[in-house]
Amino acid sequence: MSDKPRVAFFDFACCEGCQLTVLSIGEPLVTLLGHVDVVTWREAISEKSDDFDIAVVEGSITRDSDVARLKKIRDKAKVLVALGSCATLGGVQGLGNTFDRSELLSLVYGEAGSQFEAGEVRPISAEVPVEISIHGCPINADEFVAVMEHLLLGRPYRVPNEAVCYECKLNQYECVFDRGDICLGPVTRGGCNAICTSKGHRCFGCRGIMDQVNLHAARDVLEEHGLKLEDILGMFKVYSLRASPEEKMTEVEREKARKAEPWRFGSTTSLA
């Protein structure tokens, strides 16, 4: 057996787009594969091993019956990396937490719904300790390579904690609010190099709300454009239901957030 770090990939409820993003790194991935042994990766290889150092886990936990498999992975791994928004936040399926689960089951399966299992959607950190979170829906491939480099060199990895706004401004993209749209950029964790606003779209908040979010500054940005914080609260539900900034809000704002509906444009939208 070689003395290279042994890496294993696993996934729970997700689209596997983050693992696909890893597969699409191309030649740098071939280089990386020279420095590690990938011992388990159901999506890509048939080799299997329970002996690994680094576990990379994509997906959210949605069924209690999946917890045991996650805990087994955690027990064997020296380092556990949460890969992508489903693993770090719960992902878009977290919206399911706002519905009655038996109603969701009967919507999809009809009367047979009771045969199937559905539980609270949660990030893997709700069940096991996680050493490194790679946020994003999907992840930024460069960040995955950077995380692996840090692990191989034994250096601590700093998870980006600047707002998407910061990266957007560094790139000198046109402000989404100035175009008349709304955007979660002021409060969302960056590290994506503002890819969505680079293409003329808004930030949907896929990397979650940054730590120590400056809600005052966010309020100022919104007020400059005639908006209030509650105008964007409905949008938070798509990714950040669990990681909402609720504890940073006033009681009145908290109540509004619970009732918030998706923000929408007036009668007409112009995006170009």
């Binding site: 409820a13 596997e16 787009g17 696909l20 699409s24 290889i45 048939s46 829906c137 293409k199 112009s270």
Partner: protein, 418 residues
């Protein structure tokens, strides 16, 4: 003899093979789908029209572009939104991109190791680096072509109802065209490689279902056509696709005229091969495919033919773009109530999104029908038909063959459950 494979490898998502033979006779054989449901049809309800495609696209990481376009077409049909010729051209280019990257992934990384007697492509990195680099070149050119237009192939950024929030520069299109032209050499070698590989001898005729259009090899829109005859328009898809629940799968199964039907590359080839580009028809002949083909394993070979078709069609679409240019077009959407159905051919086959919106542009009802889910009943029927034919072989060999059969479908399991 009991055969059980928990979590088949080199496929997207979690599924198990359950099969048993009693004295050489079939007792049972099925593909058990254990993937968790994410309830997309439920969670789309209440979301704003601009959020709907953002969320629905995330049903699948491999075929995100197909989901994106099925979703956008459903919203556009519901709200009576018309798109420009430029939007149609960019969508055609990026649907090709998706087939290229997805087919290259399946053909080289997921399916080919079986034919070479390897557990994965990893041993090839040392033994045959040229093949691995060629596989990456094909896959990543498709990926980068998608990213050039969409900002990101998985999950697209710039495609919204009515058009695009940004368009690529012509210089980027021109450079990408060169990379596509360079792929022709890689495709020639890929065709040669697959000429040499033997697929298991197993034929079982079934019903083949795909989109069909009068004007070209169909990737979006058109009607849903069956090899058994008959075709239905988008809005009447429920007359064709009849979904049902089985206890061994968290994904629903589907049937049309018979107990099962097949979608995907082999179905498209059987139904529409006359519309392939000349280079792809040549590849089809070189690979010895004579439609209709009834061997399920030839789905992978049909994907090689489609790779050639999509690269050539991307070159042609790039030429059209370079001739007419690209403009930043304003997208004005007036949300209005209604119902719409969007159709696409994802790499794995027919994909349907069906939405209803209220007067505020809020989604009130959603239904998504996934190619892999439509294939499960046919996969189970293949397993039941083939297993007795394999009965005299050792258990390990039978197990591997059943895994190969599952992989030949290129299943996208988490997508099928969604």
């Amino acid at each position: 003899m009991e055969i059980r494979v928990d979590h088949v490898t080199r496929v997207e998502g979690h599924g198990n093979i359950v099969a048993s033979l009693d004295d050489g006779r079939l007792k049972q054989a099925f593909f058990q789908v254990v993937e968790a449901n994410r309830f997309f049809e439920g969670i789309l309800r209440g979301r704003d029209w601009l959020e709907v495609s953002h969320i629905a696209t995330r049903i699948c990481g491999i075929c995100a572009v197909s989901h994106c376009y099925a979703s956008l077409q459903a919203t556009e049909a519901a709200m009576g939104i018309r798109v420009s010729d430029q939007t149609r051209l960019l969508r055609r280019l990026t649907m090709n991109a998706e087939q290229i990257s997805s087919h290259a992934l399946h053909v080289y990384f997921l399916a080919a190791p079986d034919f070479l007697g390897l557990p994965s492509v990893l041993p090839l990195i040392k033994q045959d680096p040229d093949t691995v680099l060629r596989a990456f070149r094909l896959k990543n050119t498709g990926y980068d072509l998608g990213a050039m237009v969409l900002g990101r192939h998985c999950h697209p950024v710039s495609a919204i109802p009515g058009g695009f929030t940004a368009v690529p520069k012509l210089s980027e299109v021109s450079k990408m065209r060169e990379r596509l032209v360079d792929l022709r050499k890689d495709l020639d070698i890929t065709v040669e490689l697959f000429q040499k590989l033997d697929v298991p001898a197993f034929d079982r005729e079934t019903e083949y279902v795909s989109l069909r259009r009068p004007d070209h090899y169909a990737w979006m829109g058109g009607e849903i056509a069956s090899s058994d005859g008959g075709a239905v328009a988008a809005d009447s898809y429920r007359d064709a696709v009849k979904e049902f629940v089985v206890p061994h799968s968290t994904a629903k199964h589907a049937r049309w005229h018979r107990e099962a039907y097949r979608v995907g590359a082999v179905a498209r080839l059987n139904n529409n091969w006359q519309q392939l580009r000349p280079e792809a028809k040549k590849a089809m002949q070189a690979l010895g495919l004579k439609p209709p083909v009834h061997n399920p394993f030839l789905n992978t070979v049909a994907q090689v033919v489609e790779l050639v078709h999509c690269v050539e069609d991307s070159i042609a679409a790039s030429d059209e773009i370079l001739k007419v240019g690209l403009n930043e077009e304003d997208v004005d959407v007036q949300p209005r109530p209604g119902r719409g159905v969007g159709l696409a051919e994802a790499p794995r086959g027919l994909l349907i999104h069906d939405y209803t919106y209220d007067e505020r542009g809020r989604c009130t009802k959603a239904n998504c029908i996934i190619p892999t889910a439509q294939n499960y009943a046919n996969l189970d029927a293949d397993m039941r038909a083939w297993l007795p034919q394999l009965a005299s072989q050792p258990k390990e060999e039978i197990t591997l063959k059943l895994e190969m059969l599952v992989r030949s479908y290129d299943p996208c399991i988490s997508c099928s459950v969604h």
